[in-house]
Subunit: 334 residues, 2 copies
Amino acid sequence: MAPLARPTYAVIAKTAGVSEATVSRVLNGDESVHPDRAQRVREAVEELGYKKNRVASALASGRTGLIAVVIDDDLSVFSDPFWGTVTSGVSRVLQENGLHTVLMVAPVGALDGGVAHYLKSGEVDGAIFFVLHSDALVSYLKKQGLPLVITGTPHSNADIPFVDTDNFGGAHSATKHLMGQGCKKIAIITGDIGTTAAKQRLDGYLQAHREKGNLPIKSLIREGDYSFESGKAHTEALLASHPDIDGIFASNDLMAMGAITVLERAGRSVPNDVRVVGFDDALIAQTSRPALTTIRQDVVALGEAAGSLMIAQLNGQEFEPIILPTELIIRESA
Amino acid sequence: MAPLARPTYAVIAKTAGVSEATVSRVLNGDESVHPDRAQRVREAVEELGYKKNRVASALASGRTGLIAVVIDDDLSVFSDPFWGTVTSGVSRVLQENGLHTVLMVAPVGALDGGVAHYLKSGEVDGAIFFVLHSDALVSYLKKQGLPLVITGTPHSNADIPFVDTDNFGGAHSATKHLMGQGCKKIAIITGDIGTTAAKQRLDGYLQAHREKGNLPIKSLIREGDYSFESGKAHTEALLASHPDIDGIFASNDLMAMGAITVLERAGRSVPNDVRVVGFDDALIAQTSRPALTTIRQDVVALGEAAGSLMIAQLNGQEFEPIILPTELIIRESA
DNA sequence: ACTACCCGCGAAACCGCTTTCACGGATTCA
DNA sequence: TGAATCCGTGAAAGCGGTTTCGCGGGTAGT
């Protein structure tokens, strides 16, 4: 499938009156070529509309120009606009740097199958993981020397470059906000506690209490799974066990919506009786009634940061983990 | 970056006692090799844990094993869970067939820039477009012989394989449903009418009226842009010009939500005073109050269909456009 | 003025797989 | 039995870049 007959080095070299080696040097930014000849090459390239064949280049150089983005094959993950947005940010940054994004939707369990092999065998120059749970494969690839970036905080403390939102700080300020509004009994509905993000958000919530000198009762801490349904279920349970509850911090907006649905159905007014804060600032936070007070994370920036971190690694530059700040968005629910 | 020293054909050939040509034949399913030798090759492959170098293979054969997915670089498009879900469906199907998905987020305007070149220059074996507006590039690539699939209905009637939801049928049944509920004055808030999907949904709405023998007044037809805000704005306008309106069909759920928000704020009860139907069955349709009656489209299936259509083309099989059925989901709003 | 170095540049090997071509032997047909 | 055909197979020529190696001329050092 070679739609167009494209010129090769041979042609460029001939019209520029130099050798193919020189063409290669010029096209790869080798400074050692005499300016005049370099110029002749550039003109030939321009004139003939030459574009490098990336495949041939990849074979010879060992660099494919491809970066894998590995996403858990859990629909609830990718159908979440969150990851879609992150991915588009990544893709844009990479594209600006002449790299392409290869999307890999893989079931977490199969990470030692085809995808793992693909990554291990040097057919991509690097990999960006959207990782929620285990990162065994990640550590393995790290050892192989494959440039990696993790979006989210890794579990293992192997020094793998990562980008993440300041989950702790966000949760902390959400909880403080509820306290500042006069809430005395604040529950938290966490995400899947197997994920570091959920843990960090819980820590932020705890820290806010600690600073106030009163740790929350254990039964105010409920482990959800980021779904609307789990938000509803845990709120029902909370209302049953703690009828005097007056604040809920949900670890994402969807669960916050579930909480509000149940609260209103139970005759509690939000925010008058119970105040609710979510996390993410997803679309629904704006469209819901009451509009949701929440912690905004800059998802596009997250993707771009991941892309930049990858570029930095490939260029052998210095880099360190990037933690993006969050912002409390006050709307109607708290 | 070659993490592992991998065996090559040379090694396989030697241990199997055959030539490299034979190894290639076996690995590419050429039937003409004697079963015994083929077996020896397979054993050698197994024993050495050999995996083909896709790059070298691509250079020699001209097939890269890469399929581009081109998405409009409009954040509101990709952050819409819709496209994320479609993409994951595509990716899964391709992966099952040994192909990989290269994500290309490109501004529509730049389609004759880098991305266009990339596609034109045979560095992917095919391209799947998520196309909303112009499809000039698509027609061009089609002429170049690049296998294409369009997700959504193309504007030009060049016979490009596409997959789409039955927008017409869905809109038709939504409108019929409103009529069946006793609505006499039904407005429609369309999507950007430059998109075929929006046009088809409008047609479905019109057809339902036509069948009933009474075409709607022109001023009941409002062109929105799929955003929450536009749903709100058009509903306000409708209430002003047609206070007796009793039904609204919004071309997506987000605009339907906007409509409901405005209606309730204006003291109209949904569904008692005004019934509202959306389109998509997005997450918000389930979480909103009142829960949204809407037209469900199977987004995952859409992605998988797109992937399958691509595979079919690459295999030179017969294929034709795929139109996926919709389903009316009755909840509370109508 | 002579040796030692450095520098820009081309020839050629090479990356790992695919594919054409032709050869030797077996089979078929007359 | 001889000529024509067919088959499985290996040698070798690519695919289109990258990179090593070494050459010839120019500069520097003494």
